[in-house]
Symmetry: C2
Subunit: 338 residues, 2 copies
DNA sequence: CTGAAAGCGCTTACAG
DNA sequence: CTGAAAGCGCTTACAG
């Protein structure tokens, strides 16, 4: 167990009370901003506290009052700018609401995820927001809920309708992207990247339904599964280029795979936006200045984080309300890649 | 002040003791893994704790023992993948060491920075690691040190030699980058992006010294200052292309500005790696699959985070040792952009 | 090897 | 408007 720094000796409420010639109770009330206290007294107490270098010990206060102002946020993949942007959004909102955030990065490891959730429980988290690691199942919801800790699941739903959830309409998003390519006259359109999980399934469904609506039979050999990162996108696009013919466009599982695909296309001397059309998904910041700037599906990543914070804060206020589901409506952002 | 969830009623050490027919003290010792306890007793206590659904209240333990296992990490710009990678590194190391991390994002705001530092103090942070917001001065070091909280400053040094610091050798890094371009035969080499701050100054110095060593006079009009992000790099490169002639290469303030520069070059129909050579700085993950893959200066971002964690952990163990400075040695990573 | 007692720094009824 | 007392869940000497 790590040791904290050994300060000379903490100044406590007791010292302040003594110095001010009052009781601990009174000082405590002043610090809580109670209006039971005579203004002059409050002023004097604050002045003394300041002079003595008093620091409020929130830990002690919370132990006594049984409250907590800490919220745990667990992120599966911080190296993906999409999740980094989600984190920025949720952190901003939680801090604005007066909370402090424990952040943990699971790096898609289920063991680590279990460990950090347990740590957050021991730390007395007032709530937990989680982007589940790949392979997570509903048991994480059951576990956290059995602890009585308010929970919001982000991005990857675990047990639809059984927990607060904040994500985006993946099927719709990819459908829009695919339709856009169809509208541009493309007929053989690849799907690049993504492996497994609910998000992948919905996105594939969106891809298939857009083709179906246009009367185009789905050619399963144009679906190139790969890890949802740049390497995956690079590999998938390379395979696409080397094993198919007549493909003039592709939708990507997400922006990251699109970036990988972009570099693969570049290596093959293919001018994206002219010889080939490519769509991303997420609209992370980097898309605007990709080479070329990437057309993508905007799901407002940091907005998703903010909404998740709101859901969690409401759940904390009202623990028994029915599970809520926020599904952001994706919108196309068209740039030079299509 | 936010309220925590109101659990039915917590199971405490007292309940466990009663159920097991022992005293609180004994149970406490078992939980601490003390070897003063008879093995059978320990087993029984654990069994009872498990059965009762007991959860260790670390908060109470720490209040009593005066320890803390929480470390605050404050990051200036999470939207920059460089800092996200630093965060991943430091978080990983701190969690491995048994700590839990408070994360706060200042978004380069000095007020927010002050607020989150204060919050971390009230939370009883055992240590603080900070990437200071632009414009921070040595007062943040003084303040945190006056609180008696172990501190490590990352990336942007605040008061050289007065605090633990973990960063990289910026002058050397840019010198290597510039030399590489010189070796490739380039003579008019631009400097793209970056505005102010110690990091900018050292990188400029590296640029100037490399040119000087090659006997090339520094042309100040080839230095294009701009915000250290993609937009800045895009704007700076656009200006460079439109206001200069004969420039065949550029070093960038960091990878982010290089990405922006890359897109500006693309818009001008310039083939990077053939018609123009571009160097980044940092070696964030995204460089490997940029279009084209970006030559850059590797400072091992997540490694910097890990080193910062080590410095902080050592400082916690040994509060009075002299300030340490870890300066990573940058190395060139050559890809298609040069 | 185990227990009784005091106390970490605060809050919260309850008096007055 | 202010104070005395009890207690949040734990740890830590001190006994035995």
């Amino acid at each position: 167990m790590p040791k904290g720094s050994s300060s000379p000796r903490q100044v406590t409420i007791h010292d302040v009370a003594q110095e001010a010639g009052l009781s601990k109770s009174t000082v405590s009330l002043v610090l809580q901003g109670s209006n039971l206290i005579k203004p002059e007294t409050a002023v004097r107490v604050r002045e003394v506290a300041q002079r003595l270098g008093y620091v409020y010990n929130r830990q002690a206060a919370e132990l006594r009052s049984g409250t907590s102002n800490r919220i745990g946020v667990v992120i599966n993949d911080l190296m993906n700018p999409f999740f980094a942007e989600v984190l920025v959004g949720i952190e901003r909102r939680l801090v604005d609401a007066g909370y402090v955030v424990f952040m943990a990065h699971t790096n898609e490891s289920l063991e680590r995820q279990q460990a950090v959730l347990t740590a957050m429980r021991e730390q007395g988290a007032a709530g937990i927001a989680i982007c589940p690691a790949l392979g997570s199942d509903k048991s994480v919801v059951d576990v956290v809920q059995s602890w009585g800790i308010p929970l919001v699941v982000m991005i990857r739903s675990l047990d639809h309708g059984q927990h607060d959830f904040c994500g985006s309409d993946n099927a719709l998003g990819i459908r829009l992207a695919t339709q856009h390519l169809l509208d541009k006259g493309h007929r053989r359109i690849g799907f690049v990247g993504g492996e497994t999980g609910v998000v992948m399934e919905s996105r594939l469904e969106g891809y298939r339904s857009a083709l179906a609506a246009a009367g185009i039979p789905v050619d399963e050999s144009l679906i190139f599964r790969a890890r949802p990162n740049r390497e995956g996108g690079h590999g998938a696009m390379t395979t696409l280029l080397e094993t198919t013919r007549g493909v003039t466009a592709a939708v990507s599982y997400n922006d990251l795979t699109a970036f990988g695909a972009l570099s693969a296309l570049g290596e093959h001397g293919i001018r994206v936006g002219k010889d080939f059309a490519l769509m991303g998904f997420d609209n992370v910041l980097a898309t605007a200045h990709a080479n070329p700037p990437l057309s993508t599906v905007d799901v407002r990543p940091s907005g998703l984080g903010e909404h998740a914070a709101d859901l969690l804060l409401q759940r904390i206020r009202e623990p028994d309300r029915p599970p809520q589901c926020y599904l952001g409506k994706p919108e196309l952002v068209l740039r030079q890649s299509t």
